[in-house]
């Protein structure tokens, strides 16, 4: 079991957080609690899907941002735009407008992630032909899904495609190409990914199946969008930079990765609840007649990423128009073998966040207690205690991370004096301070 410190790209602005319960209810892994009036992320449970960023009405949740000056640390700088970026602009008829604008922002070159996507598609087609492949193969392109599987569906790990995502492949090739062109050493070449989501930031800053990412830095689409748009407006001519076909660009929307496999027996699900349902069904051996399962945590696929500007369906429609005039695929592997560089360096390891105890008997005692506690809770799942549901509070209690008095209804009904209004756990100072000290153990 992996036991490293967790990096998270999802951050909290404590000043803006009102301690409301929107994020705790939305989180697909039950990773957020409200403590002392502020949202608190249980590190090992968070998969950086960014759902909390999307839902927070106070904009207190945000993605880790990096200074644009980071590019100055490198002699040669390459921008790596995700295909989702192309769908953010109105009336775009040529991708080269977007790519050329990067050159005016201080980048020396641009390398499309969709190029990497086409190569990963080809490698996946070879992977599907291998006899030892465990079917159905689950796509590993969405880092939030990979992290979800390792915390909630560890027995599906053998099905996960153990190849690098298009972003990694594109970064590796971009750096190789730059080294050949400039003669500079690898460390002088900065490769910067333009990301639609938080999960990919985490995948870069703390990869789980490689020692280190090929990507040097990362900027959110919504952060780079205004400056990029400014440069695009000023362009009088474009440089022919685009080098990918409709297959690569298609990866931006749900179903694109599957379509590029040229197979019929596939399923493409998007939106985190749908993804969880599909994984549950797969675990119950209900989907064994499929060859491939594409899963995207965001609705619509990457176009629905929390760091995008445009509505996912609008972006998808625009991409469909852009794709119309592109060749099918422009990039191919050097041979009929999957290059070793495309494979993960180490296997995906499970992180069990669900087990109540390592010892089965102790776990059963805790479960028994938990079921008893749940019976006396009101079952309203109101979230006022700071946990997303009554069951989660019961679990927190048996794990020693909560008290039954945290439930306002329980406390009210126990009290003889009906005027007494208890202070729920998120706002009680004395014991929450103690709890914050041991927050890493929660």
């Amino acid at each position: 079991m992996a036991t490293t410190e967790f990096f998270h790209s999802v951050r909290l602005d404590e000043e803006k957080c009102k301690g409301c319960i929107n994020c705790i209810k939305r989180c697909p892994t039950g990773a957020i609690r409200v403590r002392r009036g502020k949202a608190y992320i249980i590190s090992e449970r968070c998969i950086d899907c960014g759902e909390c960023i999307r839902i927070c009405p106070n904009h207190a949740k945000y993605a880790e941002k990096y200074s644009f000056n980071e590019i100055l640390d490198y002699k040669y700088r390459i921008a790596l735009p995700a295909p989702t970026l192309y769908g953010q602009f109105n009336n775009l008829d040529d991708v080269d407008y977007v790519l050329t604008a990067f050159l005016r922002l201080g980048f020396d070159d641009v390398f499309e992630v969709s190029v990497g996507a086409e190569l990963v598609s080809e490698a996946t087609r070879l992977y599907m032909k291998q006899k030892e492949t465990v079917r159905p193969v689950i796509s590993s392109a969405c880092p939030a899904v990979v992290r979800l599987i390792r915390v909630r569906f560890p027995n599906l790990i053998p099905n996960v495609l153990d190849l690098n995502a298009p972003m990694e492949e594109a970064a590796r090739l971009a750096r190789e190409r730059a080294m050949e062109k400039t003669g500079l050493p690898a460390e002088d070449i900065g490769v910067f990914f333009i990301t639609p989501c938080t999960a990919k930031i985490t995948a870069i800053k703390q990869p789980i199946c490689n020692e280190k990412s090929h990507v040097s830095g990362v900027f959110g689409i919504k952060d780079i969008y205004p400056v990029l748009l400014g440069q695009m407006d000023k362009l009088t001519a474009t440089v022919p930079l685009k080098h990918s076909g409709l297959m690569g660009v298609g990866w931006a929307s749900s179903g694109g990765e599957s379509a590029a496999l040229l197979k019929e027996r596939y399923l493409a699900a998007d939106g985190i609840e749908n993804v969880i349902q599909v994984l549950e069904e797969l675990e119950n051996e209900k989907l064994n007649d499929l060859d491939f399962i594409e899963l995207n945590a965001c609705a619509g696929g990457c176009v629905g990423g929390p760091l995008t500007v445009e509505n996912p369906y609008v972006a998808k429609a625009r991409l469909q128009r852009l794709r119309k005039y592109l060749p099918v695929s422009c990039n191919h592997l050097p041979s009929d073998e999957i290059p070793d560089e495309m494979r993960w360096e180490k296997p995906l390891e499970s992180v069990n966040i669900m087990k109540l105890d390592e010892d089965l008997r102790k776990a059963m005692q805790k479960m028994q207690k938990m079921n008893e506690i749940e019976k006396v809770l009101p079952g309203l799942d109101c979230g006022t205690c700071g946990a997303p549901s009554c069951r989660d509070l019961a679990e927190d209690i048996v794990r020693g991370k909560g008290a039954i008095e945290d439930c306002v209804f329980f406390t009210r009904d126990k009290s003889d004096n009906r005027d007494f209004i208890p202070i729920p756990a998120p706002f009680r100072k004395s014991d929450t301070e103690i709890r914050l000290k041991e927050k890493d153990k929660i």
């Binding site: 119950n284 087990k355 109540l356 089965l360 059963m364 479960m367």
Partner: protein, 139 residues
């Protein structure tokens, strides 16, 4: 008496709710830390049983007892009963109506699957009275 006893009512009139009991059992078994293979066996057997209750018997009730070395399930319904158990146990034999088949169920694999995924399976059935199924999955 087992440490953990779970009880579920399976509604007979709402097909969309079939699978809720097996889903809840799955979550609890995961929290307890049972092996994935054990969990799969329990969940598949229970799911098939639940679907059968809804399709054929107008619902019923399920009791699950969890022990460290075995998981026992009792599925009780007050449906029409099974006239010929040996025939019902054959793969592909089905009496499911067309509207259920349209949803992908009723392939005649329910009881054979339950048998396949459990270590012991006993059926008590009486025409017009109902069916009770006793299932055991060893750890």
């Amino acid at each position: 008496m087992s440490l953990i006893e779970l009880h579920y009512e399976v509604p007979g009139d709402d097909f969309t709710r079939a699978g809720e009991a097996s889903g809840d059992v799955k979550r609890q078994l995961k929290q307890l830390g049972f092996e994935p293979a054990t969990i799969r066996n329990v969940v598949i057997a229970l799911y098939e049983g639940e679907i059968n209750m809804v399709i054929h018997a107008g619902g019923g009730e399920i009791d699950v007892s969890i022990d460290p070395d075995r998981i026992r399930m009792v599925l009780r319904d007050h449906g029409p009963g099974i006239p010929d158990v040996a025939l019902a146990m054959q793969e592909g034999f089905s009496t499911a109506p067309d509207n259920v088949r349209a949803l992908g169920f009723g392939a005649g694999m329910g009881l054979p699957n339950i048998k396949k995924y459990t270590n012991d399976m006993q059926i008590e059935t009486e025409i017009g009275v109902g069916t009770t199924m006793y299932l055991r999955v060893d750890v």
